[in-house]
C-alpha cells in the first residue's frame, strides 16, 4: 500500500504538519480579537494535512521512465555527498581562514573532485576569481568579506 512514492511523501508531510501544529498550539495568542499570532500557522497546518491526505489518495500516474529518473546511480550519490562535505568545509572555515584562501581551496578541490583535470587552469581560476571578487567587494563596494589569515 505504501509502495507508490507519493504515499510515503504524503505521510512525511502529515508528520511535518503535525509537528508544526504542535508548535503552533504552544504559541501564546495575545492581542485583541480572535485573529492572533497563531491563527495563520494553525490554518496552514490543517491545510497541509488536508492536502497530504488528498495526495495520498491520488492515483499514481508515474511512468517507468520517470521512476528511472528518480533513481540516482551510486556514483552520483557519492558525488553529491562529496560536494556537500566540501561545501560544509567551505562554510565552516569561511570566517576562520578568510574568503580568498577558503574560496581558492574550495574551487580547486571541488572542481578536481568532480573530475576537472586541467590543474593549471584550475589553479588560475581558483586564484583569480576569488581575488577579483574580494577586491570588488571590499575596495569598490565597501563590503567587508572575512579577510582571515591573509592580512589585507
Amino acid at each position: 500500500m505504501l509502495k507508490p512514492i507519493h504515499r510515503k511523501v504524503s505521510l512525511v508531510l502529515i508528520a511535518l504538519a503535525v509537528f508544526y501544529l504542535y508548535l503552533a498550539f504552544q504559541l501564546q495568542s495575545f492581542g485583541n480579537g480572535p485573529i492572533g499570532t497563531d491563527t495563520m500557522p494553525k490554518a496552514l497546518g490543517f491545510l497541509l494535512i488536508l492536502l497530504s491526505v488528498l495526495l495520498f489518495f491520488t492515483k499514481d500516474k508515474e511512468t517507468e521512465e520517470e521512476k528511472k529518473k528518480r533513481h540516482i546511480p551510486k556514483d552520483d550519490v557519492i558525488k553529491i555527498l562529496g560536494v556537500l562535505v566540501i561545501t560544509f568545509g567551505y562554510i565552516f572555515f569561511l570566517e576562520r581562514l578568510g574568503f580568498i584562501l577558503v574560496s581558492f581551496l574550495f574551487i580547486y578541490s571541488c572542481s578536481l573532485f568532480l573530475g576537472y583535470q586541467k590543474h593549471i587552469a584550475n589553479l588560475i581560476v581558483s586564484f583569480v576569481f576569488p581575488t577579483v571578487l574580494y577586491s570588488v567587494f571590499t575596495i569598490l563596494l565597501g563590503i567587508n568579506l572575512p579577510s582571515g589569515v591573509i592580512p589585507f
Binding site: L97, S109, L112, G148
Partner: protein, 342 residues
C-alpha cells in the same frame, strides 16, 4: 581516483591546521590589545562602528556621520569603518559586538530599542552587557493626524480615546512593544488612557504615512522628522511632540509639546555609542574624551542641524544611570501592556 582522495586528505589537513593556527594567533592579538591597557590607551588598529541596521536608517546615519566627523576633524587618527549588521531589530548586531569582548575596537550605535528589544525577549543582550561610552543626540516622537481630523489637540484625542478606544487606530512602524508603540502609550497613559485599550497597528513595509492619509489609520506615531514634509504640504497636523520643550527649527517650532498641553510626560529617543563588554578604565576614558571632542566640533554641529537632531551629551557614568532609569520606566509600561519576554 585514489590519488584524488589522497590529495583531498592532504588539503583537508592543511585547512584544519591553518584554521587552528589562525584561531590561536587572533586570540593572542586580543589578549595583547586588552593587556596593554595601562593609563593611556590608544587604538592600535582601525575602529569599527557597527550600525545594527541596514544602510540609510537612523543608526546607520549616526554611525556614518560620527565616523566622518572623527576623520575630518582629525580627532582619531586610526581609520574608522562603518559596518551594517542587520537583523532582529538590532539583536544580530548586538550579539556580534558582545562577542568582541575585550577588543575595544568595535563600537555600536544604540537607542531605545536597545532597552525595548531585550525587554520583549528578542535579544539575549541588553545595555548592561555593553559599555556605555557617550550619548550624543536626542530625537523626539510626534503624533500626527490628518488635516481634516476632528481633534485639535492631544487632550481631545485622548478624551475621545477613553470613550471609544475601538474607533481610533494608531499606526506606527515598529512592532507592538517597541518604539512607536511605547512612545504613544507612555504619553497616553499620563493623560489617563488605559494603555491596553490603545488599538495599535504596526506597518513595517513603509506604508504608515499612506495609511494615515487614506484613512485606514487615524493617528500616526513616528519620529518628528518624518512628519515635516506632509505638514508643510498641509496634509497632516502634528497634535503633539514628546520633547520637554518646544523644538527649534523651521516647521517643528510650531509643534506643541505634550507637556504644554498639561500632560506631564516625555519620551526621548536618545542615541549614543557603546563598546563591547569589559572595557578598562583607560579605554573608556579614551573614547569619552574623543566623543566629547566630536560633540564640540563644528562638523558635528552642522550634522545636528542638517538632520534636526538635538544635542544630548552624556559621559559614560551619567549615561549608565540614565539607561537604568529609562529601563525601569519601560519595564513598567510593558508590564501594564502585558507584553513580556519569554
Amino acid at each position: 581516483m585514489k590519488k584524488t582522495w589522497l590529495l583531498f586528505l592532504a588539503l583537508f589537513t592543511m585547512i584544519v591546521l591553518a584554521a587552528c593556527g589562525s584561531a590561536d594567533s587572533s586570540s593572542d592579538e586580543e589578549e595583547s590589545a586588552s593587556g596593554s591597557s595601562d593609563e593611556n590607551w590608544k587604538p592600535d588598529q582601525s575602529i569599527e562602528i557597527v550600525a545594527p541596521s541596514s544602510a540609510g536608517g537612523g543608526w546607520d546615519t549616526t554611525a556614518r556621520m560620527a565616523a566622518e566627523g572623527f576623520e575630518e576633524e582629525g580627532i582619531i587618527d586610526q581609520g574608522l569603518g562603518v559596518v551594517n549588521k542587520e537583523g532582529g531589530g538590532g539583536a544580530i548586531g548586538w550579539s556580534y559586538v558582545a562577542e568582541k569582548s575585550g577588543n575595544p575596537h568595535h563600537l555600536f550605535v544604540g537607542s531605545p530599542p536597545l532597552l525595548l528589544v531585550p525587554l520583549n525577549g528578542q535579544s539575549e543582550y541588553g545595555y548592561e552587557d555593553f559599555t556605555p561610552l557617550a550619548n550624543m543626540i536626542s530625537d523626539y516622537g510626534a503624533f500626527a493626524v490628518r488635516e481634516d481630523a476632528s481633534w485639535d489637540n492631544l487632550n481631545e484625542l485622548f478624551d475621545d480615546m477613553k470613550d471609544n478606544p475601538d474607533d481610533i487606530t494608531v499606526i506606527g512602524e515598529s512592532s507592538p512593544g517597541s518604539m512607536d508603540h511605547i512612545q504613544f502609550v507612555k504619553i497616553a497613559k499620563a493623560a489617563g488612557v488605559d494603555p491596553k485599550s490603545v488599538k495599535y497597528v504596526s506597518a513595517q513595509d513603509g506604508s504608515t504615512m499612506t495609511n494615515l492619509l487614506n484613512g485606514n489609520a487615524d493617528v500616526y506615531s513616528s519620529g518628528v522628522t518624518e512628519t515635516i514634509e506632509q505638514v508643510r504640504a498641509d496634509k497632516i497636523r502634528v497634535l503633539g511632540v514628546t520633547s520637554e520643550e518646544r523644538m527649534e527649527g523651521d516647521v517643528v517650532e510650531d509643534f506643541p509639546t505634550a507637556k504644554e498641553q498639561g500632560i506631564d510626560e516625555t519620551f526621548v529617543n536618545w542615541r549614543g555609542f557603546f563598546g563591547p563588554p569589559d572595557m578598562s578604565e583607560a579605554e573608556i576614558a579614551y573614547y569619552e574624551e574623543k566623543f566629547a571632542e566630536l560633540n564640540e566640533s563644528e562638523h558635528w554641529q552642522e550634522t545636528r542641524e542638517k538632520f534636526a537632531w538635538n544635542e544630548m551629551y552624556m559621559e559614560s557614568e551619567e549615561y549608565k544611570e540614565f539607561l537604568s532609569e529609562e529601563k525601569e520606566s519601560m519595564q513598567e509600561l510593558l508590564n501594564e501592556l502585558n507584553i513580556q519576554g519569554e
